[in-house]
Amino acid sequence: MINKHFFEIVSVLLASSTIFSLELKLALFQQRVNRESLKLLSTLQSSSIQQCLPHRKNFLLPQRSVNLRQYQKGQTLAILHEMLQQIFNLFRANTSSDGWEESHVEKFLTELHQQLEYLEELTGPEAEQDSCTLGSENVRLQIKMYFQRIHDYLESQEYSSCAWTIVRVEINRCLFFALQLIRKISKRGMHSLKTVEHEPRADFRSIG
């Protein structure tokens, strides 16, 4: 059920294509992370989702504060960087997540690492001078708190496979959310994704 829904949305996203100037890398990232996160989900058995439903928890993804329109590009990049960094930290040490093929995890981590490096390239030289990053501090803290909740949950559930399943679904949500951020950056760039803009958002709301 969730799988099919995600698959359709992600296929729509995959079918889109954009050409930017600066944010070329981010556009690629959009497609590639979609692919990898899709694979992550595809390895989830629907039966495992079923049996893990009672373990669900609302991690309170800070959607609203992240989605505020007044962020500038530098701030949004900082927020994005924080998100990806935290996802990387979450999965880098996982040896206890059974049911995942190591190659999948490797690909996912590779992808994240690559995008983190690109983001650091984009933000690096400006980060210290940019006073706009001040505004994003609060959001970074909220994102950190969100991931703290996820870590605490995993610890309290003793890193069971059901707990990891729940976390994986949550991270997919988070990634989707990150893609919305990217779209925002790209919208403020040269071109915009008009066609794809509406469909995934509507779908995301229905999932969220």
């Binding site: 690909k107 803290l141 703290q148």
Partner: protein, 560 residues
């Protein structure tokens, strides 16, 4: 008078509380001043200036408050402290949440007013402490192993342990040495050093965006004696067709080499990752300074490659790790084309994935566009288009002509700027025009439909001709109808009638034939008599001429 006295007494009494403490000698405690919170890694300290100059047994206590709770709780480690600072690291706080503190001075039973510290978020206030560094010397390099700041299991940097970037300063331990600054990974090597020299270095951690930590203490180490077997140098990797070629430089001969690779992201993960290096396929114990690697070994991603030399007895240290971005280097393969002529004189083109025996093609990692070249086989005029779709049509072509198509794949993203070679041309002939064909079909249908029409018309015409030129002796059909009707209708009845009629008509000289017949059925005469008597009655009323004529005609009709 008395009222005046009373009023003064009242005033005095009222004034007493204000004056009395002063008179008691400085029992009015002032709250602490310049209260500051210092947080370094997981160490939380509160510092202030005691405002009481007289000294004495003044102690200080502090409280804290978290946003969820409205009550002030006692700050552990800061209760009744005599010095002007206290350490409250034992408090398990959520470092990302705002916290409020307040401090006051106490002396005996008296307390000063609270001094409120502005609300702060521990994580934001925290400073990064010095990281721990472990060094290992080689002949021309130093291996470093940096542990992130903060204690293990510490809360402050729990979520950021992989996010630190480290900045290192290194210099020779001699006078007037220049200091070099580098950004290093937690597990890294510093190359291009001189053997048997002492180097000193210090490291500081940095957390994006704005947190910069303190420098670690200075560590010094001496590099070893120069190795007999130097490591390979100038490691480079290039893509050639569908393989990668790894090359390096090496001075001496008679050495075997081996190569290893690692996912680049492991460098970001603290801890021991030396076991994660994997052997490079096709590069185990090679004698030459190069080796070939199948392209599907490296999926897209960033990798690190290192090479080691060995001469049987000793092995060299590993070469400098070469960073390799598979995507930048891989080569696109030309796509396969399928062309089908469609009904409306167009050619439909399908661009497919290249045929490869292995599932994992390089092309699938990129979003591709295709440059399609299209020309008429006889002419040289080429039409070039860039297509994103893999299924498209060239419309409005000439019928029954041969056209050829060839295509190559390009990365959509100009940053990669990759292109494959052109595929082999595929030629197809277009189908005949639809206008002539529709006419043909229409003509056939018309012809088919017209055959019965024409035959019918001819038939009529022939009949007309026959009528005019070859009239028949037949009476008109209407008369036939008129006569033929009664006998056909009342066949059974008529036979019985006829018998009676014949009996009746025997007297008439005309009906000789009828007589012959009645003899045949004479036996039945008596039988039918009673029946037909009614009938004869019916018929006798009718016109006699009709009956006689019908009687005459009947045998004729029967014969016919």
């Amino acid at each position: 008078m008395f009222s005046l006295l009373g009023a003064t007494t009242l005033m005095l009494v009222a004034g007493a509380p204000w004056t009395l403490p002063a008179a008691a000698g400085g029992a009015n405690l002032k709250s602490p001043e310049n209260v500051e919170v210092h947080i370094i890694d997981d160490t939380f300290t509160l510092r202030w200036n005691g405002s009481d100059p007289a000294g004495g047994n003044v102690t200080f206590s502090a409280d804290y408050q978290v946003p969820r709770n409205d009550t002030w709780l006692k700050l552990p480690g800061c209760q009744s402290v005599t010095s002007t600072k206290c350490n409250f690291s034992s408090l398990k706080l959520n470092v990302y949440e705002e916290v409020k503190l307040r401090v006051r001075a106490e002396k005996g039973n008296e307390t000063s007013p609270w001094h409120n510290v502005a609300a702060f978020t521990p994580f934001e206030k925290a400073q990064i402490g010095p990281p721990k560094v472990h060094l290992e010397a080689e002949d021309k390099a130093i291996k470093i192993n940096i542990s992130p700041p903060g204690a293990k299991g510490g809360v402050m940097w729990a979520l950021d342990s992989s996010s630190f970037t480290y900045s290192l300063e290194i210099w020779k331990n001699s006078s007037s040495a220049e200091i070099k600054t580098k950004t290093v990974y937690p597990r890294d090597k510093i190359y291009k050093l001189s053997p048997e020299t002492t180097y000193c270095l210090k490291v500081k951690a940095r957390l994006l965006p704005r947190k910069i930590g303190a420098y670690s203490p200075v560590y010094c180490i001496k590099t070893t004696v120069e190795n007999k077997l130097p490591p390979p140098e100038n490691v480079r990797i290039d893509a050639v067709n569908d393989i990668y070629v790894l090359k390096w430089d090496y001075a001496s001969e008679n050495t075997t080499f081996q190569a290893q690779w690692l996912h680049a992201y492991f460098k970001k993960i603290p801890g021991n990752n030396s076991g994660k290096w994997k052997q490079m396929p096709g590069c185990e114990n090679v004698k030459t300074t190069q080796c070939a690697i199948p392209q599907n070994t490296f999926q897209k991603g960033i990798y690190l490659i290192r090479v080691q030399a060995s001469d049987g007895n000793t092995t060299s240290v590993w070469s400098k790790e070469k960073r390799f971005d598979a995507q930048l280097q891989s080569v696109l393969v030309p796509p396969t084309i399928n062309v089908k002529p469609t009904n409306d004189v167009s050619l439909r083109v399908f661009i497919g994935a290249p045929e490869e025996s292995e599932n994992k093609s390089v092309n699938q990692h990129y979003s591709l566009i295709y440059e399609v070249v299209f020309w008429e086989n006889t002419s040289n005029a080429e039409r070039k288009t860039l297509e994103k779709r893999t299924d498209f049509t060239f419309p409005n072509l000439k019928p029954l002509t041969v056209y050829c198509v060839k295509a190559r794949a390009l990365t959509e993203n100009e940053r990669w700027n990759k292109s494959s070679v052109f595929s082999d041309p595929v030629c197809e002939k277009t189908k005949p025009g639809s206008t002539s064909r529709t006419w043909l079909i229409a003509g056939i249908c018309a012809a088919l439909l017209s055959i019965p029409v024409v035959t019918y018309v001819l038939k009529l015409f022939l009949r007309c001709v026959r009528y005019v030129f070859f009239p028949s002796s037949k009476p008109p059909s209407t008369i036939d109808e008129y006569f033929s009707e009664p006998p056909l209708r009342n066949l059974l009845l008529f036979t019985s009638e006829e018998q009676t009629e014949r009996c009746f008509i025997i007297e008439n000289t005309n009906i000789i034939t009828a007589v012959e017949e009645t003899e045949q059925i004479g036996e039945d005469h008596k039988k039918y008599n009673s029946q037909t008597s009614q009938d004869s009655g019916n018929y006798s009323n009718e016109d006699d001429s009709n009956d006689s004529k019908s009687g005459e005609d009947f045998p004729q009709q029967e014969a016919e």
